[in-house]
């Protein structure tokens, strides 16, 4: 170092700079960066890391194909506002009312899959789902659990929740519920292959499965959806995650369709509890959730889940959004219809019990836990729903938020 440099160094040593970093800014910026990264991730179609490590690629793709079916059928109803004399949603629903089961055939990256699904007798929600992949993998539901058989590993991965299926079966209730949603666009045209009139619906949303978008084609004559494409991003970029090119509706299906026989004696391994990476940004805002300082995970999870369900019972949309930030991207009217169920028999009226943490896992934001909640509905039916709670450290403070439901609800007693 030269003399001049030494002199200058000596000079600046005598200056006090206000250059100590403010960690509240650092933490706020960190949340913003996570949101930017989450947005980038949506365009990459990356499967969940832990799941990928355990089961490699094919199973992940098939699991995705199975899981998206919930959304495929939900999205079918999101267009009442686009009804016209020539294309009325009521007609499509009327056409669907007689069907208790569906069969879908489609392609996912790396193979094809067929999905069979059947509702309960009252047609309130799906009871049986089987997804068969072209490479021999099978996903199915039984007794409140979801199983996935991967033949290359002779292993069945399972989770104690119904993560494939429909919580509200096809019909007027679902129509009414979803008719309040917006974010849909309808285009008319002709199928170049058959010359038949087609109506195509474009829509997207963010839910517990992450960002998703769809293109659904309806046959104008039969009023039924005949093809569905689904992406795991909001702008339908890249190849579709699932391309359902054949959809068939049945009045009923025999039990044998849903019987699953696994050859040999596979190992059974529990699937780790995970949440989509792209939801991390939404869960990273310190304005959401509740403090968890000085509480055990069980105490904090119970506390926030109770507050969330109480908000649903009270119809308190603001509190619901604060506890469960994924709800923020949904409109108030849609939330009242889908979650609060204002004026419906299925409306929740009482929290009966909040159980012990049943599953644990880890997201990029911190630990996640799942715990069951027993509730009573207006019509007297009691049901159990598992909820996922995300713990995080923001600005050096421990807090938690509700990510959303873990699987479908199931009736109890």
């Amino acid at each position: 170092m030269s003399d001049k440099e030494r002199q200058f160094e000596k000079f600046i040593r005598g200056i006090k700079f206000d250059d100590k970093a403010d960690y509240s800014h650092r933490d706020r910026l960190e949340q913003d960066l996570l949101a930017v990264m989450a947005k980038q991730t949506r365009h990459k179609e990356q499967p969940l890391k832990i799941w990928r490590i355990i089961v490699k690629s094919k199973i992940t793709k098939l699991s995705t194909a199975a899981g998206l079916f919930i959304a495929i059928l939900l999205s079918f109803f999101v267009f009442e506002k686009l009804s016209s004399p020539a294309w009325a949603l009521e007609d499509a629903i009327e056409a669907l009312k007689g069907f208790q089961a569906v069969h879908v055939v489609g392609a996912f990256p790396g193979g094809t899959a067929e999905i069979w699904m059947r509702a309960d007798k009252a047609k309130t929600q799906s009871t049986n789902v089987v997804v068969r992949g072209s490479h021999g993998a099978i996903t199915w539901t039984r007794d409140g659990s979801t199983y996935h058989y991967e033949p290359s590993q002779n292993t069945v991965y399972f989770e104690n929740a119904l993560t494939v299926g429909l919580s509200q079966w096809l019909g007027p209730e679902l129509l009414e519920m979803l008719s309040t949603a917006d974010n849909a666009e309808l285009v008319r045209g002709k199928d170049p292959a058959t010359g038949r009139d087609r109506v195509t619906l474009f829509c997207s949303l963010i839910d517990v499965h992450g960002a998703q978008s769809w293109i659904i084609e309806f046959d104008v004559a039969s009023k039924l959806p005949v093809a569905v494409k689904q992406w795991q991003n909001l702008d339908r970029s890249g190849p579709p995650t699932f391309d359902a090119f054949k959809v068939t509706y049945y009045e009923s299906l025999p039990d044998s369709v849903f019987a699953v026989h696994i050859p040999g004696q596979p190992a059974y391994v529990q699937k780790p509890l995970t949440i989509p990476d792209e939801n991390i940004g939404v869960l990273s805002d310190s304005r959401h959730g509740i403090p968890a300082e000085g509480m055990t995970q069980q105490e904090a999870a119970e506390s926030i889940v109770r507050a969330t369900f109480q908000a649903v019972i009270d119809g308190d949309i603001a509190t619901l959004k604060k506890m469960c930030p994924l709800c923020e991207s949904w409109g108030d009217e849609f939330l009242r219809s889908v979650i609060v169920k204002t004026g419906k028999d299925e409306r929740l009226v009482e929290i009966l019990k909040i159980g012990q943490i049943s599953e644990t896992g880890h997201s990029k934001l911190g630990p996640i836990v799942a715990l069951p909640v027993s509730v009573k509905r207006q019509d007297g039916i009691k049901a159990e729903q598992k909820m996922i709670v995300q713990f995080r450290q923001l600005g050096g403070v421990s807090s938690c938020v509700v990510h959303g439901s873990y699987g479908l609800p199931r009736e109890i007693e």
């Binding site: 200058f8 700079f17 206000d18 650092r26 910026l29 960190e30 913003d32 960066l33 991390i280």
Partner: protein, 188 residues
């Protein structure tokens, strides 16, 4: 942890950060202080420095897929982004002459407010601020990286994409200019 294994881990963290947000957050936390400090020393205003620091890391996230290097190079890469962001801020936000005029007025007012007291850190800071902002942005960058971030000329050369010989001569010129402005301060 010895240096070799730390270096190996650092390389691993950079590799992981390309596919793992948590790893990138770890990198961010390691380098936030240095970037913020650099911005404060260039801009003399912690609030503006926070804004520019936000721009730096947002740009880093957006461009990270094109970065391929060690963690030390990542640090230099951040300084390069920060240098561009600070210079852009100085160009855009305040016209240079106007800024200098304001600074000079501020210096006079600060010195006047502290008159009679023994030479204070405040006065030195105000004088340095005026002197630094009278330099070309490149000289400001070199002075800041050399004396506040303690980078060697060869490292500054890597940040600015220049040779260490050029940096050494530019550093000498920058100090000579500062010396004129701060004659009574740092030649004593």
């Amino acid at each position: 942890m010895n240096n070799e294994s730390k270096a190996a881990n650092d390389g691993q963290l950079i590799a992981e950060a390309h596919n793992d947000a948590a790893a990138f957050v770890q990198l961010y936390r390691r380098h936030y202080d240095a970037v913020f400090r650099y911005c404060v020393h260039r801009l003399f205003d912690r609030h503006i420095a926070e804004d520019v620091t936000s721009q730096v890391f947002t740009k880093a996230v957006e461009s990270f897929s094109s970065f391929d290097g060690t963690e030390q190079q990542f640090c230099f890469w951040l300084f390069r982004i920060a240098t561009n962001a600070v210079n852009q801020h100085l160009r855009k936000q305040i016209r240079r002459e106007r800024m200098q005029q304001n600074v000079q007025e501020q210096v006079l007012s600060e010195i006047s407010a502290n008159s009679g007291s023994e030479e204070s850190s405040h006065e030195k800071l105000a004088a340095l601020k005026a002197a630094m902002l009278s330099l070309k942005p490149r000289y400001q960058t070199i002075i800041t990286l050399r004396f506040f971030e303690n980078l060697k000329p060869a490292e500054i050369a890597e940040v600015l994409g220049s040779s260490s010989g050029t940096i050494r001569s530019q550093l000498a010129r920058a100090l000579a200019k500062l010396r004129k402005v701060l004659a009574t301060e740092f030649t004593d």
